[in-house]
């Protein structure tokens, strides 16, 4: 309860600071401010993907349905954050590049993440029986884990990018304004805490649902 309050206050407070007080980056002007929302969302999209895949593999090793609950919750939340990152990025692209969608490498990667999540959830939806669903979707998740580096890093790099971080930061160093940097990392922390709170909430709901199912079967 206290945690939940703290997360909300933290995110709201830093969002206000980021929107009102943080300076702009030269080329990006006012669109700088999307970064406090867009990058944390994209980070959670990838974090949830990794979290889900980790638990899928753990399920195959330990056969504890709790790991499957985590994998499923991560996929559901992953879709949410991926859509948030995609929409905010697309709006930004319209402002900066003049069109919503360009098959830029970053757009390609996030698109792959989105279809992976959707394929995974569609697969889950078509399997009957908890153990069977857990096992088969974990197998798919594990094989997708092999494809992810290719989908996210290798294939998109075959095309040229216009995405800002390589342009702002050609040497790959973090040389942001201190105020921007503080707001940005604070939002990153806020989003991560938000994600893990939602994750445990979703897992708890699944557990209650299963207990009710079992009670009905007895």
């Amino acid at each position: 309860m206290l945690w939940r309050l703290l997360i909300f206050v933290w995110i709201a407070g830093w969002m206000v600071a980021a929107l009102l007080f943080a300076p702009q980056v030269p080329v990006l002007h006012e669109t700088t401010r999307v970064l406090y929302f867009h990058i944390p969302a994209a980070w959670i999209a990838v974090l949830a993907l990794g979290w889900g895949m980790l638990h899928s593999v753990l399920y195959l090793v330990k056969r504890d349905l709790q790991h499957d609950d985590h994998a499923a919750a991560a996929a559901e939340l992953g879709v949410l954050f991926t859509v948030m990152a995609t929409v905010s990025g697309s709006l930004w692209a319209k402002a900066m590049w003049g069109s919503y969608w360009n098959w830029d490498p970053r757009e390609t990667s996030i698109f792959f993440v989105l279809i992976l999540y959707i394929a995974y959830l569609a697969l889950r939806g078509s399997i009957e029986g908890d153990e069977k669903r857990a096992r088969l979707s974990a197998i798919y998740s594990a094989i997708a884990f092999v494809a992810v580096p290719f989908l996210m890093f290798v294939v998109p790099r075959m095309y040229e990018t216009l995405h800002p971080d390589p342009i702002i930061n050609p040497r790959g160093k973090v040389d942001m304004d201190p105020m921007i940097r503080t707001c940005f990392f604070a939002m990153l922390i806020g989003f991560t805490a938000l994600y893990f709170w939602l994750q445990t909430l979703r897992v708890r709901v699944t557990r209650i649902e299963r207990r009710r199912e079992l009670a009905r079967g007895l």
């Binding site: 195959l60 792959f112 394929a119 697969l123 096992r135 594990a142 094989i143 884990f145 290798v154 294939v155």
Partner: protein
């Protein structure tokens, strides 16, 4: 117990022979797949017309035809077992890995037969310029191995879902996109008289990664 490794090889070989014999007796999967491949090839060729020197588009169309043929036919090997309710028999006589490897080899053969028909037809219908056979076959073979590996694992999973084959294309697609990108790239470079080595490395790495993960995962495919 006799030597386990030679036993496994024997079981894989036996499953592969059984698959080939079933296919030969029924010709149910191969005819349908060939018909589909030729139909999509005709549609592509008819819609695009003679592309002449646009070999970049030709490379893309070529792999799209192969991808479609794969998505349309590759779930068949396992769905057939489930529909005939012979999965139990198979599981009693072989380990999950032996079954899956046998099916993988069959899927590979199946794709090669489809390609043996599709490739010459594509070259003729699209008026493709001469190919560098060594490079082209290397790209084709590595791409085919990845297509077969992905399809075997996903096919085995999909056959156990409520809709059987229905989800196969959608669930396979994310796994096949890297193959598509690298194979199209390689084919394009081949026609542009550039080196295909980068594409071959990518295709090879992906094929090896898929096969290695599959061999670890096959064991978990059937447990109820």
């Amino acid at each position: 117990m006799p030597n386990a490794a030679s036993n496994s090889a024997g079981a894989v070989w036996s499953v592969l022979r059984k698959e080939c014999r079933t296919e030969w007796r029924t010709r149910y999967g191969l005819n349908a797949a060939l018909l589909f491949a030729v139909a999509s090839l005709t549609a592509v060729s008819f819609a695009a017309g003679r592309l002449g020197n646009r070999t970049d588009i030709m490379a893309a169309l070529f792999w799209i035809v192969l991808l479609f043929a794969t998505l349309a036919s590759m779930s068949h090997a396992f769905v057939r077992e489930v529909e005939a309710r012979t999965m139990l028999l198979l599981r009693l006589v072989a380990t999950p890995t032996e079954i899956a490897v046998g099916k993988l080899l069959f899927n590979l053969l199946f794709l090669l037969v489809i390609e043996a028909v599709t490739v010459p037809l594509f070259m003729v219908l699209m008026g493709a310029p001469p190919v560098r056979w060594g490079d082209f076959l290397a790209v084709l073979l590595l791409g085919t191995v990845s297509l077969a590996a992905s399809s075997t694992l996903v096919g085995a999973v999909i056959a156990q879902t409520r809709g059987r084959g229905a989800l196969f294309a959608g669930v396979s697609l994310p796994l096949l996109l890297p193959v598509l990108a690298a194979a199209v790239g390689g084919t394009r470079e081949m026609w542009a008289a550039n080196s295909v080595a980068p594409s071959l490395r990518l295709l090879g790495a992906y094929a090896v990664a898929l096969l290695a993960a599959s061999l670890l995962l096959y064991d978990h495919l059937w447990e109820d």
